[in-house]
Symmetry: C2
Subunit: 338 residues, 2 copies
């Protein structure tokens, strides 16, 4: 029986927040896997701020999703059909399968998922790209020393919440910047941050002065904009700014603004370094092993926000990234019966 596939395709480049008209849904028979291919039934989709940046035209670290293409997404699914020697029916796999019910794959970029180790949502979060981004970005680019002050923006998000916890495990003073009192309480009370700043109601400048009294040694930036400028004002001598994302800019209808006070890098003899997790692919195993140990010891807590639904729910779930409510890793779990 050939299954019916449902795809979410990019219909137009959004201006500002993506709206319904920017998407098109296409229902058609899934093609038959050829020799060396297999079919995956997608069960979990990773919903990430970077997705919004993939929808914009222009030079970036990956090509933009083209108009008419299936929206790009990482996901976990089950092999349901296989003409591939390495992948058998029933196996659980991770890959960039796209926002669709069924994907064909030749195995490129696909990894086997050890579901015995942790449930799929954790595999997409702490043990997936989010956790690895936090791990390598903080350790290899940020290089914090015990006792140093690490500040992370979008601190209640999938990457930020892990960055802060790893920094705490490494013996750093950790300050998170997030939107809302509840998120800030969660960061301090549940995740062990030393302080959390609510950029929606706190005076960020005054709070950074108080919470990072010796300056910021590592700023792990997921948001850009005003928060980046405030952090640059407080850099300690020799500080490292890790550029991981700029979520405040992705939905900007006008040209994004750069940090007006970037010359604070000179004042502080600091560096700002761009970082893309894909460059660490050959070290993922190291990262996963360490993150797993921390999870098992209880030092690291994982938080997933799993929304159950269907491919047609993807546009609304994506918007949850930008409404400032969710915490941790946002995942769309696809109901198999639909």
């Amino acid at each position: 029986m050939i299954p019916i596939n449902l795809q979410c395709r990019l219909a137009a480049r959004p201006v500002g927040l993506p709206k319904a008209a920017d998407w098109a849904f296409v229902e058609e028979s899934s093609a038959e896997p050829g020799e060396g291919e297999f079919r995956v039934q997608v069960e979990y989709l990773s919903i990430d701020p970077a997705m919004r940046s993939w929808m914009n035209a222009g030079r970036s670290y990956v090509p933009p999703v083209e108009i008419g293409e299936v929206m790009r997404a990482g996901g976990i699914g089950r092999v349901v059909d296989s003409h591939h020697a390495d992948y058998a029916v029933g196996e659980t796999v991770y890959g960039v399968f796209g926002v669709q019910r069924f994907a064909l794959s030749d195995g490129t970029g696909v990894t086997r998922v050890e579901t015995a180790l942790a449930p799929a949502p954790v595999q997409l979060g702490v043990l997936g790209i989010s956790g690895l981004t936090a791990y390598f970005g903080l350790r290899d680019v940020g290089r914090p020393q015990p006792g140093q002050t690490v500040v992370v923006s979008a601190a209640a998000g999938s990457v930020g919440s892990i960055v802060g916890q790893i920094a705490r495990i490494q013996g750093c003073r950790v300050v998170g910047i997030a939107g809302g009192r509840d998120k800030c309480r969660w960061l301090v009370d549940e995740l062990g941050f030393d302080a959390a700043i609510d950029y929606k109601s706190d005076d960020v400048r005054a709070r950074l002065r108080k919470d990072a009294p010796d300056g910021i040694d590592v700023f792990f930036d997921n948001v850009g904009g005003r928060i980046l400028e405030e952090a640059l004002r407080r850099l300690a001598h020799g500080a490292r700014v890790v550029l991981c994302g700029a979520v405040s800019q992705y939905n900007a209808a006008e040209a994004p603004s750069g940090p007006a006070n970037y010359m604070q890098l000179l004042v502080a003899r600091a560096s700002m370094t761009g970082f893309v997790i894909f460059d660490y692919a050959d070290r993922y195993a190291e990262g996963v092993a360490q993150l797993t140990r921390w999870l098992e010891s209880g030092e690291l807590r994982s938080q997933e926000d799993v929304v159950h639904g269907d491919i047609r729910d993807f546009p609304d779930v994506l918007l949850r990234l930008f409404d400032g409510v969710h915490t941790g890793k946002l995942i769309l779990a696809l109901d198999a019966s639909q």
Copy 2:
């Protein structure tokens, strides 16, 4: 006989280009050097773009010059009076003596100048802070490899012209960005740059595409603004941006703008690092020795623009930095008879 000192003091913080009313001249007897002090008659003043930034309020790598203070300046002069065991009358010394005819010093930050090695203007230029800034900024922060492409802005200036030559000596492809056809011709014909882009009349974007076909591995930035953004667009994978100055911004009457496309650092996995030469004080001797060898071998050419005049000419000479005409190291030589 107690000499009459003439000082140029900061009278007001300039908005835009400094104007006459921003300065005050004060003529009074030079104080008597106390025990452990000596008096220097200033003979040459180093005139540098950074001076303009010292006139602005706000956090920088040195405190701002306060209203009523003698304008800060590096200079070379002769000891004319001494109660200091290490400095004898007649010796030639370098120090931050300020824009005045006579300075008192206790020796802090003062170095002896070997006039037999090179004339004073060369000692203030290639063998002084300008040359050392080029040497350590390019080598330690930029870290170019032979065959890589180095682009430098304000390329015909005191630092830029040396950065480009050192990069050429190190086997790099060197592209300078400067204002005006004459400067560009000088960079290519006299200093051996591979290409020079006239930002006043060339299409900088098109020229960088042509002259840096494999991207920019090291961008040594003295200017900021639009030129920095164009360079960020062309960064090669793993590029290093050396932040040395932002001369396009120092005279800005409004808040300076940051590079709107700073996330190109992420696209290119590149870093942007602020750099202040004072941090390399314990390695100046190494830098001077290497620069001297290159000067003697003829591989490195020194260019000074020496203006003869008096303390009262300082405001006009300073403006020459920003009129786009001069090349190389700008120096005010003080006529001793005045």
